[in-house]
Structure formats: structure tokens, C-alpha cells
């Protein structure tokens, strides 16, 4: 419509709604004003848009206000949600906060300054509580068999080493290596079945919540690794009691390999699969245990010798790198949560 009209005489129809709303920049607005002086068509259009604006304004003016209870109901909902998430784990703190909330509810005229201070004091506690809630919520979501499998593998290792010591004259070092093998495998089981859609019954639930998947995985890693370390510590105490020697010295034998294999299995399980990760860990651990003690003098297979059976800084750094890799590999916020 405006194509044939010279630039300075072009109609400004398309600009008129924004002009009526005061949304045009100064230059465009003055161009519209100048054009309107001499253009009857655009004057009619302006009147039409002003009529639309008037209708919208009238409708807005006729809109009733919401009831005065809206904010009270909002606070009730916010309090209910916060108390529901806090009351179980932090009874004392939540009671204090509930009392604080009641004060806020009843005395909203109290100074805003005091409330600000309270909010500031609560902020770190809130973050900690949230972290604890996420941490605690993972326990029922972790693949149940991990708990039983780890305990059974550990128990089996202990029984095997005790029976080996009674039947044969194996040296204490050999028996310790076998025990370390079992303990390291326990760590590997934990890492391999920690997180992922194929083995994780709570995976769908996890990715449907807005909580960061990285945080969830880290919490699970701490829980499972902590549980496995506890099992290994108990087994080590029994071992040390039976054969004598320093408990800490024995712990040092498995601590590094356990953390390393758990991190390795976690990374591999995310990339390939849980079973593959576990098999890899077992192969690595067997390769580094058996060539030294048995295989080398039973059959002459040139197996590689890995030096995993000690808690070395390099091993711990490798474990940390693998864990960091796993953490960055999974998305921080899965798509389902958006």
C-alpha cells in the first residue's frame, strides 16, 4: 500500500499502535506527528487505535481487585511447603523457623530491617538444609542391590581369606592382597551402579525434579562410597584382629584403589554401561593382584603389572579427575526438569 508513495509522504499506519502507547523513539514519534498533520487517512487510523486503547483501559478500570486474603493464603502455602520439607530432618530448627514465620505473619508491621537481617541469617541455613534434604533423599533412590552386593562381596572376601590362611601357608602379604581385591571390587560395584537410566529405579524421578543432576550424583557417590568404606573398615578391623598388624596400614592398601575404581566405574557406567564398568574394574584389579602372587609361577602369561595396590597421591588425583569428568559429562539440568 505504501510502496508507491514517496518516502516523505509514506503513511505511518504501522507505527500508530506504538505511537498511541508512547513506545516510539523520539525521531519516529516526530515523524508520525508531522505526517498526521496532513494525512486524513492516518488521522482516522489514529482515532481507531485510540478507541482500541480506550476500550482496553475501560476494561482494565472495571477489573475488580483481588481479595485482601491473597497474600495470607500465599504465605500459608509457602510456609506449608517449607515446613513439610523441613520438619522431618530439622525438628528443632524448623520449630524455630515456624515460630519466626508466625511472628512474621502476625506482625507484618514489624520493621522490614529486622526481617532483612533474619533473612540473611537464614540464607546459609536454608542452603545447608536443602543440601541435606537432597543428600538424604538419595538413600531410598539408590539401586537397592548395591547395599546387599557390597556387604556380600566384602563378607565373602573375608571368609575366603580366613579359610585360605587356615588351609595353606600363604604369607600374610598374599592374603592381604586378596582381601584388598575384594574390597576394591566392592568400591567398583558402588561406582558402576550408582547413576544411570538402565539400573537406576529413581532416574526418572531424578530428572523430573529441578535439582541439579550433578548434585544428585555427587551426593550418591558420597553415600555409597561412605557405606563401602565403612564395610571395608569393619573387614579390615576383623582382618587386623586375626592376623595382627596396623589397621591404618591395611586401610592404606585399599583406600586409594577403592576410590579410584569407584570413580572409574562411575565414569565408565555413564559412557558405556554398568556391567562393562564393573568388568573393567575386576580385570584391572585381578591383573594387578594375580601376576605378582599366583599367575606368574602357575602359567607363564606376560600380564601387565599395574601399581594400584596402594594409596598414592597420583591414584587419588586420577580418581578426582575421573569424578570431575563424570560430573561434567552429565548435564547439570536435564531437559525433563524445565
Amino acid at each position: 500500500m505504501t510502496a508507491q508513495i514517496p518516502e516523505d509522504r509514506a503513511h505511518v499506519v504501522e507505527l500508530l499502535p506504538a505511537y498511541v502507547n508512547g513506545q516510539l523513539d523520539a525521531a519516529s514519534a516526530s515523524r508520525v506527528r508531522a505526517h498526521l498533520v496532513s494525512c486524513a487517512t492516518c488521522q482516522v487510523e489514529l482515532a481507531n487505535w485510540e478507541a482500541v486503547k480506550e476500550a482496553a483501559r475501560q476494561a482494565f478500570a472495571a477489573t475488580p481487585l483481588p481479595s485482601a486474603q491473597v497474600m495470607n493464603q500465599v504465605w500459608e502455602r509457602i510456609d506449608a511447603a517449607e515446613q513439610a520439607s523441613e520438619v522431618w530432618s530439622w525438628p528443632l530448627l524448623s520449630r524455630v523457623q515456624a515460630a519466626g514465620s508466625r511472628l512474621l505473619m502476625s506482625g507484618r508491621e514489624r520493621t522490614a530491617l529486622a526481617r532483612n537481617r533474619q533473612a540473611w541469617l537464614h540464607a546459609p541455613a536454608r542452603a545447608l538444609r536443602r543440601l541435606w534434604l537432597v543428600f538424604r533423599a538419595q538413600i531410598p533412590l539408590i539401586y537397592k542391590s548395591i547395599w546387599i552386593a557390597s556387604a556380600l562381596v566384602c563378607l565373602f572376601g573375608l571368609i575366603l581369606t580366613v579359610s585360605m590362611a587356615q588351609r595353606s601357608a600363604e604369607t600374610k602379604g598374599t592374603i592381604a592382597d586378596i582381601m584388598v581385591l575384594f574390597i576394591a571390587v566392592v568400591g567398583a560395584v558402588g561406582g558402576a551402579f550408582l547413576y544411570g537410566s538402565s539400573v537406576d529405579p529413581g532416574f526418572e524421578l531424578t530428572i523430573a525434579t529441578p535439582t541439579s543432576a550433578r548434585l544428585v550424583m555427587l551426593c550418591r557417590m558420597v553415600i555409597v562410597l561412605g557405606y563401602n568404606m565403612l564395610l571395608a573398615l569393619v573387614a579390615s578391623a576383623v582382618f587386623a584382629a586375626l592376623y595382627g598388624g596396623s589397621l591404618w596400614g591395611f586401610v592404606q592398601l585399599w583406600l586409594g584403589p577403592m576410590i579410584f575404581l569407584a570413580s572409574l566405574c562411575l565414569a565408565l557406567s555413564l559412557f558405556v554401561g554398568s556391567t562393562f564398568a564393573l568388568l573393567c574394574a575386576i580385570v584391572i584389579e585381578v591383573l594387578q593382584t594375580f601376576p605378582q602372587r599366583f599367575v606368574s609361577h602357575l602359567v607363564n602369561i606376560p600380564l601387565p603389572t599395574l601399581d594400584l595396590n596402594a594409596t598414592s597421591p597420583a591414584l587419588l588425583i586420577a580418581a578426582l579427575l575421573l569424578l570431575a569428568f563424570a560430573l561434567f559429562y552429565i548435564p547439570r539440568q536435564p531437559r525433563l526438569a524445565s
Binding site: Q23, A51, A59, F60, L65, V70, V74, R108, E109, A112
Partner: protein
């Protein structure tokens, strides 16, 4: 009443007036007074917007509560890329759409959209200038929610096309065409009324 009480509080504490973005920062830190103040500032705009989407006063209040709870939870995510009102309307729109979808309440009357005159007709076909105010207001109330919301945001809240597009999560071009279509729909409703009179 509540707005008055809030004004009294800020007078008593002689606090400097905080802008909307500052209020959101305080809400993110758990400051309840800040949420009350933000609500006092924008309650009419939010409620009027929600009432364009549903004529049910009770449901609109429920959606308003949903919006405020969502603001309390997600104040931290405000990045300042739009105005606070645009951000609030965006939240209200999402809450409303989710709830209305769950309850199977339609938002757009498609038959009304189909009845619109073609956009290439002469401007006279959507002339509204001489129409009586009361008639126009009545026609406005009968418009489809998608038209009422876009007219409310652009002509009453005076959001720019860009801000309206952000709030409604639609392209700017759609906002422009929707504004034009809304005007034609108003004219069509008035014509329909005249026809029924005859």
C-alpha cells in the same frame, strides 16, 4: 488496605524506595516483606491479566497465588533481561496455561478467529472511532482471551512489542499481527451485534 499498611511500614522505617529488580533480589534472599511490596505494586496488573484468561474470579485468584508462590521460589532466576512486570506476566501466563490445560479449559476460541475478516480489507472495515464507549467496552469483554491479553499488555500496561512478545513467549511479528487482528475482531463483534439488532 494491605498496600496502605505497606506504605505505612516503609514510612516508619524510612527505607529508601527500592526498584522492582531490587525487590526481587531481596525476595531471592528470603525477604517476605519484599514479596508483599512487589505484590502491592503489581497486583492490579497481574490480576487484570489473569482475568483476561479466565472469567472465573476464584480461579484467577488461585492463579495469582500460584504466580506469587512461583515468584518466591524462582526470584533468583530473574536475570534482568526484561522488565520485572514482563517477567511477572510471563510467570502468570505459564501458571495459567498449565492450570487451564490440566483442567481442560480452552484459552482460544478458534471459531472466533476463523470468523475474522481478511487482513487485506480497507481500514474502514475495522473502523472503531465513532463507536460508543459502552458498546466498545462490551465488545472488548467478548473478545477471545488471546486478543484481550495482547491489548491489555500493549495498550494498558504499555509494554513494547518486544516486551509483550517476551511475556507471552511468542515472536514479535505475532504480537503485531495479533494486535491488528484484535482490532478487526472488535469490529467483527460490533457488526455481529448490529446484524442481530436488525
Amino acid at each position: 488496605m494491605e498496600a496502605f499498611a505497606l506504605q505505612r511500614v516503609s514510612w516508619l522505617t524510612t527505607e529508601p524506595v527500592v526498584d522492582d529488580a531490587g525487590l526481587l533480589k531481596r525476595i531471592a534472599r528470603g525477604d517476605r516483606h519484599a514479596l508483599s511490596e512487589l505484590y502491592a505494586r503489581h497486583q492490579q496488573a497481574l490480576f487484570a491479566y489473569l482475568l483476561q484468561l479466565t472469567p472465573d474470579y476464584g480461579l484467577a485468584e488461585e492463579l495469582l497465588q500460584d504466580t506469587l508462590v512461583a515468584v518466591w521460589k524462582s526470584a533468583r532466576s530473574f536475570e534482568g533481561r526484561s522488565s520485572v512486570l514482563t517477567w511477572l506476566i510471563g510467570i502468570a501466563r505459564r501458571q495459567a496455561h498449565n492450570t487451564l490445560r490440566q483442567r481442560k479449559i480452552p484459552l482460544v476460541d478458534l471459531t472466533e478467529l476463523e470468523c475474522l475478516p481478511a487482513p487485506d480489507l480497507e481500514p474502514e472495515a475495522s473502523a472503531l472511532a465513532g463507536v460508543a464507549r459502552e458498546e466498545l467496552a462490551q465488545a472488548f469483554r467478548q473478545l477471545a482471551p488471546v486478543y484481550r491479553e495482547v491489548l491489555l499488555l500493549t495498550f494498558v500496561q504499555e509494554l513494547s512489542y518486544q516486551e509483550t512478545a517476551t511475556a507471552l513467549a511468542i515472536p514479535v511479528g505475532t504480537v503485531k499481527s495479533r494486535v491488528s487482528n484484535a482490532r478487526r475482531a472488535l469490529r467483527a463483534l460490533l457488526d455481529l451485534k448490529e446484524d442481530t439488532k436488525r
